[in-house]
Symmetry: C2
């Protein structure tokens, strides 16, 4: 999906919500089959119930890999099931030497047909560039993550120099453009969001950490939204586990609707 289409979808649907399908076999509602097939059914019902309120789905590959080859099949079948109107993110956090990154890019962009893949920057240019070589596909580079451990290394260089997460962003501008590169910025890093936005005014941000992880939607959006919106805010557990009963999909839809209404309001207020 190209940038123009993504922006158009956000504006038409009045939502920049990304629903995170971190679908855990051990957390399925008890009426569903406790098997990879049960996960697929869970995903399909969640997608049916939430598609009108979101513009993207993010599949956390770990939850599928933990199920072995059938998990990988569920990953593929879930991606196939997502409507073509929605942006699909493989949240895989890959990154390796050049020829290996090319293999990962093929796995996610060609074999699975995702629109985007999250990539870890530690190994530098030749680990990231192979992902950027695919037309109309996106690399979402980890910059400043939402977890506690982000403080261990991502701020290194802070006093003497600019911190690592900013170096990652600045360096990556030599590799890609705002048409094929986004950044992961945690919603829990509110103090940094505004500064990063001024650094890269035209790039999309993928923002996890709203909801279950503690970030506030309004605080995050105020600091990052642009006239082209420029953000995808992810919510996983809050939506997909809104209920553990037979009404899980309905309640997921209600939660997604509630978040998307807040988003629509913020879009009206801020742009």
């Amino acid at each position: 999906m190209d940038k123009k289409t993504l922006i158009q979808n956000i504006k038409v649907r009045r939502s920049f919500l990304c629903v995170g399908l971190d679908s855990d076999l051990d957390k399925l509602p008890p009426h569903l089959d406790s098997s990879p097939n049960g996960v697929l059914q869970f995903n399909k019902e969640i997608i049916d119930a939430t598609a009108q309120y979101c513009v993207a789905y993010k599949l956390n590959t770990a939850f599928y890999e933990a199920l072995g080859m059938y998990g990988w099949d569920v990953l593929a079948k879930t991606i196939e099931y997502i409507p073509k109107t929605h942006f699909i993110i493989a949240d895989a956090k890959r990154g390796d030497i050049g020829n290996t990154s090319t293999m990962y890019a093929k796995a996610f962009f060609q074999s699975l047909n995702a629109d985007a893949v999250t990539v870890a920057p530690y190994m530098g240019e030749d680990s990231v560039k192979p992902f950027l070589a695919f037309k109309d596909k996106w690399t979402i580079l980890l910059a400043l993550t939402s977890n506690e451990g982000s403080k261990d290394f991502q701020y290194i260089g802070k006093d003497q120099d600019i911190p690592l997460y900013k170096k990652v962003i600045l360096k990556s501008l030599e590799w890609g453009t705002d048409e094929n590169l986004m950044f992961v910025l945690g919603a829990t890093r509110v103090e940094q969001l505004k500064e990063v936005r001024s650094l890269v005014p035209h790039h999309f941000f993928l923002i996890p950490g709203v909801g279950a992880q503690g970030g506030s939607l309004k605080e995050v959006v105020t600091r990052t939204i642009t006239k082209d919106i420029g953000i995808l805010v992810n919510s996983s557990r809050e939506i997909i586990y809104a209920s553990n009963g037979i009404d899980f999909a309905e309640r997921a839809g209600m939660k997604a609707k509630e978040i998307s209404l807040s988003m629509a309001q913020l879009m009206d207020q801020l742009h």
Copy 2:
């Protein structure tokens, strides 16, 4: 596999060679079936031909993921096929927030039953620790990688402060021990190897980059070997693609034998 057994295997087999199964469907010898099954057959023949000359196998997950669910099956079946006497590394370079890292750990340590997984440090403590919680399993943390792009971020902080790759090593000593933590150190980073060895005298290093990537075995071993050996040196392409003919396995075995003989010599000279 615990550390004592690994050291014993190295001393008995007089080899610290790790064979990298970066098995690419597009590079299979033409007489093999060009399918995931062909890759499995390729791996089995390589394993049969090289097992007596090596102590470990490293499976680069990208090459299997690129084949979709059947690739994942080949990954699982290859690991099953490797003799229990050999240390098995899933070269996956994973790392995510806590609950996701736990899922990856389950995928590689439980579902696939690998002994070790490579982990990217960018997201810090809670992204690494879940891997360390599994008994007799190993986390191999990326420190200083062999690729050109390693220069982009891994040396950050060099002048004012200690570089990122050293911070990663030092910080990780708070999370794990030399019984469950190893480091990836590229063979192309000869200048740094000795210094890192003095920093962590008892940890195992996984050293890729010898051979096709340009590192010299002798230079690397001289700087890193300890009385418990303490290193696994990986070779992938040089061994598995030693020949593209019907003799591919035989030639792979010959190449592995040649490298292991050099290793035995170095072990004799240096300890």
